[in-house]
Amino acid sequence: MKHAVITGAAHGIGKALAHRFVRAGYAVTGVDVDEPGATIAERELDARFVVADLRSDAGIAHICCELASTEAIDVLIHNAGINAVGRFSDVSLEDQAQVVAVNFCAPMALTAGLLNTDRFAKGASIVFISSLSHYTSYPGAATYAATKSGLASYARSLSVALAPQNIHVMTVFPGATRTAHARRYSPNNAREEKRMPPETLADHVFRGVKKRKRLLVPGFGNRIFAHLGKYCPCLMEYAMRKVILEKL
């Protein structure tokens, strides 16, 4: 039985991913900080959960320790993420530091720790959930965008560094997804039904892992946005300012 580890698996995209991998016959280990949420998801999914706080080194060490005795990891998905929205000067520094700790430091520390103890199976996949903001900019969440792009850069380095070991690294750049996370942080939820359902995203990720894709921008519309943002950055920056920042 193959083993998938998913961080932030008690809610949103992480939960959808856990469902998808359980359905495909994987043994899933979820990681989440929310204990009641983890208990519910554990029962619902028939998965194992590790309750740990990704913000602290102790939490990372706890996860590494818990994973030391399980079977080797075939798929590791760094999905856990938090956000802090508002104009840069208005958002409290502590919130921003936490965004950096969860979105940026934790995936890097966890990956290094698990590589160091050789916990990956042959031909394993490591998946990083970045954000479409890597291409389009995201005014109103500067720190969030910075961490997600930093993560994409780390994944890129990792995909080169781990090529000799045949470990596959994939970076996913999802756009707006229909989750509680997005509802909490976006200025306008009137068009929520237009957002991609997390189940669809999980399906894309699963297929990406199977095909061993390196970059994944799920959804046709998101792909257009990514190309526009990459080749006409000013246009996208203007649009994002109009759509997001001025409505905050």
Partner: protein
Amino acid sequence: MGKAYYTPEGKASRAKPALSFFDSDMKPRKTVLITGATDGIGRALAEIYQKRGDRTVLVGKRALDALYGALYRKDTYCQADLSRSDCADRVRAFLNAQRIETVDLAIQNAGIGYFGAIADQSAESIREIVAVNLIAPLRLTHALAPHVKKANGKHVLIGSVAHAFPRSDYAVYAASKEALRVLGRNLRVEGDMHVQVIHPGATRTGMHRKIGWDSERAKGFPPAERVAQKIARAIDGRRAVVTIGWKNAWGRFLGRYCEGAINNLMRRGTM
């Protein structure tokens, strides 16, 4: 032919215009804050601005007694460890103590690296690099924003061209610089402050020695003084994103827009 002067309306005139406050000899001294100013590019930048007659505020980790040279005095040097959470408070306290209310240029230059395999890097090392290269700029941008705004000044973030390439032996450094670049980009789009991001290439500084990088190769890099000259010139200009050196500029362009091809090349190199 005598020298022609131009009036503000664009008409040529023979009469020398009255000196305004700004182009007289009494040019107002700018206040320039530089982090990581005890070594390498930061030190060279500090020398440039000192020579121009600007008031410098130098931030560094070392104690004042351990530094030599006329640059570092009690009224110009602020000791603050940027990996700690109290760094911004220390800088703010220093500015208050020196009665500095405006900062024209806040140059966030401090950076640390790590050289070695990804699997060997400890969680503490990762956290320290992120603390200095990303969280300290966040803290200082918050702390200095009112000072810079008052002077209608500019925040300058010193990135690195390393962000445009996959770096298997200093992945966290490259990632932190990429994060810094994107932070600068989004702050610029938000439009509340002037932010400039400058990407120097590899430079002959103490950083390579500190992180145990092959110092023989580092000897071929341009010296910090020359790079700092170019950075100062870029800061005088108005471009929001500047890469130092045309080779680096091309490299950065290729690294970003031919991502797949570059990755494949480097993958073959590591095999």
